[in-house]
């Protein structure tokens, strides 16, 4: 179940649109954000909001790489394996991340913190190699910089949990 406020906000958005179906990606993002990933229930909720069938929503949800139909970690890393990023470094960023986090591509760390997804060129070739973490860009990566980033994220997450 979506929280009332979110549901109302989305309903309003859809009602204001000339073509409700134009909102489907926005709704998927919002619902995914709430559930953590685009679970089956999220697909059903999206379909109900937009007057689509679950299949119609899933035709889109499974197409796009920024909609996650399987559970992901707290931090989703889209690691660029595009040409330019891949040219840098003896080992690609994807390989390094996977080794460092002890997971394979597409998997989530046991603590539920990190998911590594391979990504096409993310458009930061002038800062290669680059990655996106939860949509935020990190560039000019080196192994030690990646280590620092992962450490910082872990710490910030722990702090957040402690504060709660």
């Amino acid at each position: 179940m979506l929280p009332k406020e979110l549901e109302q906000e989305l309903r309003k958005r859809i009602e204001e649109s000339d073509h409700p179906r134009e909102e489907v990606i926005n709704v998927m993002y919002a619902v995914q954000n709430h559930y953590g990933y685009m679970c089956d229930e999220a697909v059903h909720e999206t379909a109900a909001l937009l007057g689509m069938t679950s299949l119609e929503v899933d035709e889109l949800a499974t197409f796009y790489d920024f909609i996650y139909r399987e559970p992901v970690g707290r931090f989703v890393i889209h690691a660029c394996d595009g040409l330019v990023c891949w040219m840098f470094g003896e080992e690609s960023v994807v390989d390094y991340l996977c080794r460092k986090l002890n997971i394979r591509i597409g998997e989530t760390t046991k603590d539920g913190l990190f998911t590594v997804l391979p990504s096409v060129c993310i458009g930061y070739c002038d800062h290669a190699p680059a990655i996106l973490i939860n949509g935020e860009f990190y560039g000019s990566l080196t192994p030690s910089r990646i280590d620092d980033i992962l450490d910082d994220l872990r710490k910030s997450h722990c702090a957040l949990v402690r504060d709660r």
């Binding site: 697909v43 689509m52 069938t53 679950s54 299949l55 119609e56 899933d58 035709e59 499974t62 197409f63």
Partner: protein, 826 residues
Amino acid sequence: MPKLIIDDREIEVPAGTKVIQAAERLGIMIPRFCFHEALGSLGACRLCAVKFKEGPVKGIEMSCMVEARDGMVVSTTDPDAVSFRKWIIECLMLNHPHDCPVCDEGGHCLLQDETVSGGHGIRRYQGKKRTYVDQDLGPFVRHEMNRCIHCWRCRRFYQDFSGYRDLGALQIANRTYFGRFESGRLENPFSGNLIDLCPTGVYTDKPARFKGRRWNFERGPSLCPHCSLGCNTTGSARYREMVRQEARLNEDVNGYFICDRGRFGFDFANHPHRPRNARSAGEEVSWERGIETAAERLGAIVREAGPDAVLCVGSPRCSLETQVSLRELCRVSGWSAPRFFLESSTSRKVRSAVSKLDEGTAVSMRRIEDADFVLLLGADPVNEAPMSALAVRQAQRKGAAVAVVDPRPVFLPFPFDHLTVTPDRMDLCAAVIVKRALSGDNTATLSGEAAGFLESLPSGYPFDPELHSRMDGIAQALERSERPVIVCGTNIVGESTPGLAGDLAHLLGRTAKKAGLFYLLPGPNAFGAGLQSSTDDPISVLETLEGGKIKALLLVEQDLFRSQFDQERLDRALQNLDCLIVLDYLPSPSVEKADLVLPTTPLFERTPSTFVNQEGRLQQATPVHRGGTPISQVGCGSRPPRTFEDHVPGGDPKAAHEVLDELYRSLGSHERKPLTAEFGDWKAENRSALEDSSLVFVGDRVFSKDAPDKLFSSKITPTEPREKGMEVLSVDWTFGTEELSGYSRVAQKGESVPKLVLHADDAARLGLVEGDKAALQFDAGETILEVGIATNMASGVIVVPGHRLLERQVSAQQPTIVPDNRIRKI
């Protein structure tokens, strides 16, 4: 008309023709997967590549994407094109599992054909194959995605052509997956067409799974007997058993498709309890003895009580041969004319419909697809005649406005305007819409009687104020239209409605519009029955029996116990008879009660049979196999057979008209020629048995010579305030209410639990919620059903399916009113 050259041969084609179609006209079948005549061009598979050598397009292009233009010189055999096509096949075979030995498509697989003819034989790809997890798509269609070559036909048919939304394309790139959100029965009542459309074995016929290869089957062009549309099919049988039914192209009728009821209903012919032997007083007798007994009993009754003591009742599912024979038998024997409908109201509605259809007004489903306005009056296409819904869908896709005047919660797989009026107001509502659409300019051409009829139509609709503005909108759409079609049902409507629909269509046709009229009739040969019955039945068959004068009842492929609510009353009426003779192929309750049973064969067996569909189209079903009890039911499968016999077990039954003929000869009549001696081939010149004074033949169609009869005589009678209470309507469902498919174990798997449905307001008043069980008390007893609630239906109405699983059914005689206090929650 562009002229082009394909493979050195010139052809002229209509503008807009694609090169692939132009080639087909020359007999050149350019390989294709995604292109399909009914679905049109897509350009996805890239298999139909040809070389354009001269003209406005040059080089390798897809013949399905390029329109034929003047000056084109096209080669389908150019080495570049051939090698490209071969590569495309190679690509499509990268991941194909090569499981032809265990695939039901093997033997009639387009992928096999194109692979072999395209010359791809050696595998160069050494990578791993992609695999998928299949889904359970329900009882009819088997899913095996590994075989998929991604031609997109399934999704295009499912979503675009038919308008259903639970199967589509998931994932991306070479992981693209065609299926549902999750396993589950396909919601589309046309889902079986995926089997025909799929160029390989992703969707196969589940009931026919592993029953045989195409070449193992006896096959024949047949017809669908499960509603009045007369869709064309190809039947397949093996070991004296019907195995499957496929759609057969008829551009005027069903196009390339059929509905699932038509595809999976055939199994009634394999019913294990089907009568296979003559039976007298419950005992099996020889065929000859059966005929003699029938003749003796009938002869004795005529001698004792006179010829009027014999009543013959055929049905709308009898072939035309049988209907004609029955009429002839009655005539030469001096008996009263046969009945074809149990209810007199049904007979009047059908005859009224037949009387309005003439060459100019009767439209085929093909013509509906071209309509720019469709008014459905008391017609529920998906449930009553599914393929007509697909025809209206095509019109809607091309921009036609679709309006429905109906009290039921009608569902159509596309947006439409639904005026939920009660049955007593439907005539008025339709008349007002037409009246408002015809005003001023467009009525100038109307002649005296048409103008008078228009004048007589009411323009005010004093009920349901919330509908008024929508009625205006519909009237405006009708006013703008050039090719409107009125589709009128004959089930829940009053007796006056078919006549009115006819008059309204003729009225529209007298303006500048090219108007069409399309009825849904109760049965595959209801039109034939309408043509063969000389007068309206004054009272129902039941009431006639209750009169007590009838001593012998001859039922020909008719079941008295169907759609008859008050079975005790029927049983009492049957007490008046001295003899009940039943000719049928169904193991019906009437067969159970008969004194004498002479089994007949359905349209799949023995002899050709003719049916007239609801637009007057004469069509013939040729037998699929010779008949006889299926080997699976007699032989226990032992091989070699332990005993050898010189006759086919269960081979006695004959087509009903043949049985009538034998009976006629056994009755010792003076005329010794067969009843249908001159029936011959209806396509031939010699059809004098049909060519009597009351019929007129136009091409493949036959109409009543008097049609349109009593034109513009419809009167809109003011609606009387009716008794207080809920009006119960007995309605059709796609599965479970039609007689023949009700005996099909395959189609039964498609049935859902019978439910009564009523408007949410009524439900609230009656204290009913969705899923409750409720009892409806009729005078003769109680019916208990699950409750369904809808808002897209008229208030004051309860809709109950005439479902085979309901012990007591609502009489087809309308209206049946049940007061609130006789509806209770259980």
